[in-house]
Symmetry: C2
Subunit: 273 residues, 2 copies
C-alpha cells in the first residue's frame, strides 16, 4: 500500500514526518508513506496558501498510485479549500481511503456527503511524539493495510449500525451548509478539546436542534480534554449535558466512545464497517 | 412606558440594576423600569435554572402592563429556554419591543423568526458601569420611549433596506436550526468579542456557506474586541477576511457598523425602521 500525506490545515515539522516514516519502515517495511512537501510549508496560520493546500490535496487524491490519504494534522483550515477541491476530484479519488480527525472532519464530512472514497476518523500522520508507544498510529496502519479491527472504536465490534465521528466544533460548523453529510440512522460519536463547558453546551444545542441531524440513531461522547477554566462552575457534568440534550433531541445517549484528542484515539470508519 | 427586565442567560448585580433604575428616574422620570427578581438569581452558570428563567421571561412578556422587555445581560444561556418559551407566548407578547444583544441574539432571532413583537439589537439593562456617560443606555431609552433615531446605527439613516444585527457566534449557532430567522434581503450586521481569528474565520465560513442565509443583501462588520492571542499570527486582517468570505458568499461587504461589545453599541431595529 502507498499512503500519501497532505496537510489541508496547519503545518507539520520535518521531524514528525521522519518519525512516522521511520516507524512505518520498521513496522510495515513492504508499504510506503509519502509526505507531500506542502506539509512543511508555512503561511500565516496555514501550511501554505489555500491554493497551495488545495493543489497538494488534489494532486495526491487524484493520483492512482496512492491507495490512501492520511491527513498530517488539523488545527483549522481545511474548510477553506472544500469549495475548490471537491468539484475537482477525479475517478482515482474514489478508490481511496481518507483518514484523520479534528479539523479534518471538514474533509471527511464533505467526502462522505459526496460518497467519494472511504472515510475514517483516526489519529494523524504527524501525531507521533516522543515517549510514544505508537499504539494509535499502529491502529491506523493496521486497519488501513490489513483491515485489522483491533484499533476500531470498541462499540463498533458489537453495534453494527453505520457510524461517524467528529470533533464537535467541526461538526457544528458544518451544520446548515452543503458540506454536512446525511447521518440518518448513524451512531454519531463526538469529541472535543480546549472548549469551555458553556461553549460545549452551545454546540450541543445546535446539534440537538439541527433539522439536518434529526434522524441520527444515537450519540456517543468521546474524550473531552483540556477544558479551560471559566469564571464560574458550569453547574452540570458532561454526562448531565449529554443526557439533557439527547433527550431534547429525542435520540438515545449511548454512552462513551474511545476517541478524542488523546493517545487512545480509536479508528471509526464512516458508514458500516 | 413600562419596561420589564429579565435575564435569560447570566445573573446581574443589584447595584447594576439600581444604577440603571436611578439613571432612568433622572432622565425619564415619567417612565418605569422593573427588574424581575429572577435577574439576581444564581445557579451554576445561569441566573436561575432553565425553568426559572423561562418562567420569568414568560411572566413579563405575557404581561400587557409592560411595553418593552429589556434584557439584563448576555453571557450564554438564552438558547436553553427557546423551546420552552416560544410556544407559550400570548397575544400580549406581540405588542412589545424586545431589546438586547450578544447571547440575547438567540431570543431576538427566535422572536423575529416568528414575527412576535418588535426586536432590536442594543445595549443591555445592566450595562451601565462606573465612569459611564450613559450614552448607549440613553440610545436604547431614547429610541424605545421617544422613537429617537440618534442612537441608531448610522447606516440605517441612509440605507433603508431591512437590517438585523447579531453576535457572530450566536448567529452561527442558530444556523441549521428552526430558530434562525429568514434574513432574505436584509443587511446583516455582525460583531464579535473574545474570539481568536481562526475561530472568527471558521464562523464566517459557516455564515458564507449557510444555505439559509444565501439571500442576504450584504454584510457589515461591527467591532471585534478582546481578541485572544494565538500561537501564530493568522496572516489576514479582519477586512481581508470579510472581503474574501463575502466574495465567496456572493454578497457585498458593506463596510463597518457601529455595534459591538463596546460603549458605542448602537441600536439596530430588526427589519425596516
Amino acid at each position: 500500500m502507498r499512503i500519501g500525506v497532505v496537510a489541508p490545515a496547519r503545518t507539520v515539522t520535518q521531524v514528525s514526518a521522519l518519525r512516522m516514516s521511520a516507524f512505518m519502515a520498521l513496522t510495515y517495511p513492504a508499504h510506503e508513506i509519502v509526505f507531500h512537501p506542502q506539509c512543511f510549508m508555512n503561511q500565516g496560520h496555514f501550511a501554505g496558501s489555500d491554493a497551495v493546500r488545495a493543489s497538494a490535496f488534489l494532486e495526491f487524491a487524484n493520483d492512482p498510485a496512492f491507495d490512501a490519504i492520511w491527513f498530517a494534522r488539523g488545527g483549522y483550515g481545511s474548510n477553506r479549500i472544500l469549495h475548490e477541491v471537491m468539484p475537482q476530484l477525479a475517478p482515482a479519488a474514489r478508490n481511496k481511503t481518507y483518514i484523520g480527525y479534528s479539523d479534518m472532519g471538514f474533509m471527511l464530512g464533505a467526502l462522505y456527503a459526496r460518497r467519494i472514497g472511504r472515510q475514517a476518523h483516526g489519529s494523524m500522520a504527524s501525531s507521533m511524539g516522543v515517549d510514544d508507544t505508537g499504539e494509535d498510529a499502529g491502529w491506523v496502519l493496521g486497519w488501513l493495510i490489513d483491515g485489522d479491527k483491533r484499533g476500531l472504536e470498541p462499540s463498533l465490534l458489537t453495534d453494527r449500525r453505520p457510524a461517524a465521528a467528529f470533533n464537535l466544533a467541526i461538526l457544528t460548523a458544518m451544520i446548515g451548509t452543503p458540506w454536512l453529510p446525511d447521518l440518518t440512522d448513524h451512531v454519531l460519536m463526538i469529541e472535543e478539546v480546549s472548549e469551555q463547558f458553556y461553549r460545549i453546551d452551545r454546540m450541543l444545542f445546535q446539534l440537538a436542534h439541527s433539522t439536518q441531524l434529526r434522524g441520527i440513531a444515537g450519540i456517543r461522547l468521546g474524550q473531552v480534554t483540556d477544558v479551560p477554566s471559566n469564571d464560574t462552575e458550569f453547574g452540570e457534568t458532561l454526562e448531565q449535558m449529554m443526557t439533557r440534550w439527547c433527550a431534547e433531541m429525542g435520540v438515545p445517549y449511548l454512552g462513551r466512545a474511545g476517541i478524542g484528542h488523546v493517545r487512545a484515539n480509536h479508528v471509526v470508519p464512516f458508514g458500516v464497517i
